[in-house]
């Protein structure tokens, strides 16, 4: 078998289509570029318009549920507090878990300022102090979550957290985060629904990433982290501010306006399990809060089993019951503008 051209024959080099592109090919290509980008932009807007950020909407739903006690915080609060057990220990009708995975101080402030709790409610803010005092939000997801929680222009809060008013780019970022969450949620929710139908059971499907922790059972209840799992975000690189410049004044103001009682809880800390018994808060934020009549419950040094921790602040499921009991003791005991230390119980 011989080839049609021998090696010694000069071969006409084939034209490089990019060296001199045909005008109609280029024009069609550019038209397709515009179409693809336009469809993507329109798709993001359309998808975002039909999807709410479930993290935000669930928290809003719970904080405005009328429950007499509210837990507001981030994944640390989710891993520490068993709401039903806490309600039982406090002997109150309900404790609503309105914590948002990944929330920082500005998110908590936005929740309380824009979605006020029932008058007379007790609001327990529980998150590590460095999260609570976080100022400017650098990450796109954090900014998008804040925009989700805002209901009207809020210059003091957005100046602190976003560096100014909500910009069109922030709205666009929010839509992008919504659309991405919707797509990812669909990826996990679809087989989950099929599996549930095949198994003939009901399953709670969130249409969010947390479908990994979905539980078979009635379609209700809080969506916590996957049982036994610490959350993905451990380190929050947000600027930490002194109390007077942080969200604390906004939180206190929001609580006063809603006629709610505010208690700030410093969470259990694996690194501070040997914290000494103190009768006054050792940090500036604690002192600042007490001066303004806010109760502070400091759980550092509380007698919690060391193996209860999964990370510095997060607890395993097995540690949650004991932690809830210890926390209930502090919440029951502390009075307005008082300090209660888990290390010595006062």
């Amino acid at each position: 078998m011989t080839s049609s051209t021998s090696a010694s024959e000069p071969v006409e080099p084939l034209a490089d289509p990019w060296a001199k592109p045909a005008p109609r090919a280029l024009l069609l290509g550019l038209a397709l570029v515009v179409t693809v980008l336009g469809l993507t932009a329109a798709g993001v807007r359309a998808l975002a318009a039909h999807v709410e950020n479930p993290r935000a909407s669930q928290a809003v739903e719970r904080i405005t549920s009328g429950a007499p006690w509210l837990i507001v915080g981030n994944s640390v609060a989710q891993s520490v507090v068993d709401p039903d057990r806490l309600a039982e220990r406090l002997q109150v009708s309900a404790v609503a878990q309105a914590s948002v995975d990944g929330a920082l101080g500005p998110h908590v402030a936005a929740l309380l300022r824009h979605h006020p709790p029932a008058s007379g409610a007790t609001v327990v803010v529980l998150m590590p102090t460095h999260n609570l005092l976080a100022g400017r939000l650098p990450s796109e997801t954090d900014r998008a979550l804040l925009v989700e929680l805002l209901r009207w222009p809020d210059a003091p809060l957005t100046t602190l957290a976003l560096g100014g008013a909500v910009a069109p780019l922030d709205l666009w970022r929010r839509d992008r985060v919504r659309a991405r969450s919707a797509l990812l949620g669909w990826v996990t929710a679809t087989p989950l629904r099929i599996g549930a139908a095949l198994s003939g059971v009901q399953v709670r499907v969130d249409d969010t990433l947390s479908n990994l922790g979905a539980e078979a059972g009635p379609v209700a209840g809080p969506s916590g982290p996957l049982p036994g799992a610490p959350p993905g975000r451990a380190v929050v690189e947000a600027e930490e501010l002194p109390p007077a410049s942080s969200v604390l004044p906004l939180l206190v103001e929001a609580a006063e306006r809603a006629e709610a009682r505010l208690i700030v809880v410093v969470p259990f800390d694996r690194r501070r399990q040997d914290a000494p018994c103190r009768t006054t808060p050792e940090d500036e934020a604690g002192r600042w809060l007490i001066e303004r009549g806010v109760a502070v419950v400091d759980m550092r040094g509380a007698p919690l089993a060391p193996d209860a921790f999964s990370r510095e602040f997060h607890l395993h499921n097995t540690g949650r019951a004991q932690a809830t009991d210890l926390l209930a003791e502090g919440l029951r005991a502390v009075g307005p503008g008082a300090y209660w230390s888990g290390a010595c119980g006062r």
Partner: protein, 472 residues
Amino acid sequence: MTFVQQEFLVFFALVLAVTWGMPLVGERRRVAQNAALLVASAVFYGWVEPWMLGLLLFSTVLDYGVTMGMARWPERRKALLALSLVGNLGMLGAFKYLGFFVQSVGDALGALGFVVHWPTLNIALPVGISFYTFQTLSYTLDVYRGKLTPRRSFLDVALFVSFFPQLVAGPVERARDLLPQLERPRHAAPSQLASGLSLALWGAVKKIVVADQVALYVDRCFVLNEPPPSVLFVASAAFAVQILADFSGYTDIARGTARMLGVNLTHNFNRPYLAESPSDFWRRWHISFSSWIHEYVYLPLCGGSGETRPSAARRTFATFGALLISGLWHGAAWKFVLWGAYHATLLTLWRGLSHVSPLSPPRLLRVGVMFTCTVFGWLLFRMQDVETLRHVLQTAPWAGWSRAWPTVYALVGVIVAGGGVLALGGAIEARVSTIARSPWRPTVELCWWALAAALIFLMARSTQSDFLYFRF
């Protein structure tokens, strides 16, 4: 600096402009291009930790000196090779394995009742050290074996060691493939630039749209306390998708950017999950590294260059030696040693079975069985520690199913979606050559660039994760 940082886009645009915009011709242009690429590689590598450049320079100078010495004093080749091996592997050992070794010995002594407190080097693992150490060693080994003539140009050798597209996570290039390309004049062909961009974008899509999203789920499963085995197995299958997308994504970005600079890098993956046997898998997975191990570790351990057939016992010894080194190369932890031993066992058993079994199962079955074995290997590779394996082996596979099934189903969705994108992209990639000379190629490529940009924009996480193989 990494490929998925915004800084890289600016950096690479500058590199492209300087490389192709030089108003020089001939050899002067080539030398100037190589010098510019060397400077760019130093900036790329030293962007975050400039001190790591010292190690790269040490390795380069050592092997340049050793190979020049081999040319000048051929009778001292062995001693010079030993010097290179001690220098390079000593550096790798000190930075990567010393802490692990000291801790392991300390643990062993502790188990025997002798408590020791030894100081360890508490420094960050230099990025890419395993890659460039092996790459530069291949140059010295090839010169030692007479397969390559030592290069006089320090510039060319230094660029070979530090060429930034493949410096930190491969492909592990051989000197005989890369050096000649760096020694030839290179010109900017529009098609080459376009196809390089297309390939780099496909790599970015694999990383950002597939690997980073799958990681969100996989990471959460592997930090569970005593998770149901079913969750771990399915999470390992998802990890199979993640690691392929992540690593082949990096490789494609590396190959694409190199192509835009006029350099062709080797293929590193060839649809590895379609492998029919363990040896087939290693011919398809991380090809540049596994062929390095084959040539420079396995064959010497077999006692020759592959021309004479070694005994079965010798081959088994060589297989275990090569794969244990391969496992340890991936990280200083027992789980990687275990992963290497697992694959060595798999290879040995498969080889033995194929000799005694008269059956030839259908291809689909062979691929399915091999994929299952690979997934179990990824479980060893990804697990937090060896305790996880103990938990899995001590627990019935169906234990905790009532709690686990929603997670398992959700993970199946992740696997199908991620694997689907990879399969679709792979199928299209295989057909790219059919439009190489078509006048409609600009239309297709423009459309692909827009689609890739849209996908990346939509799916990018606000906090980008590093490429998995940066850790090695």
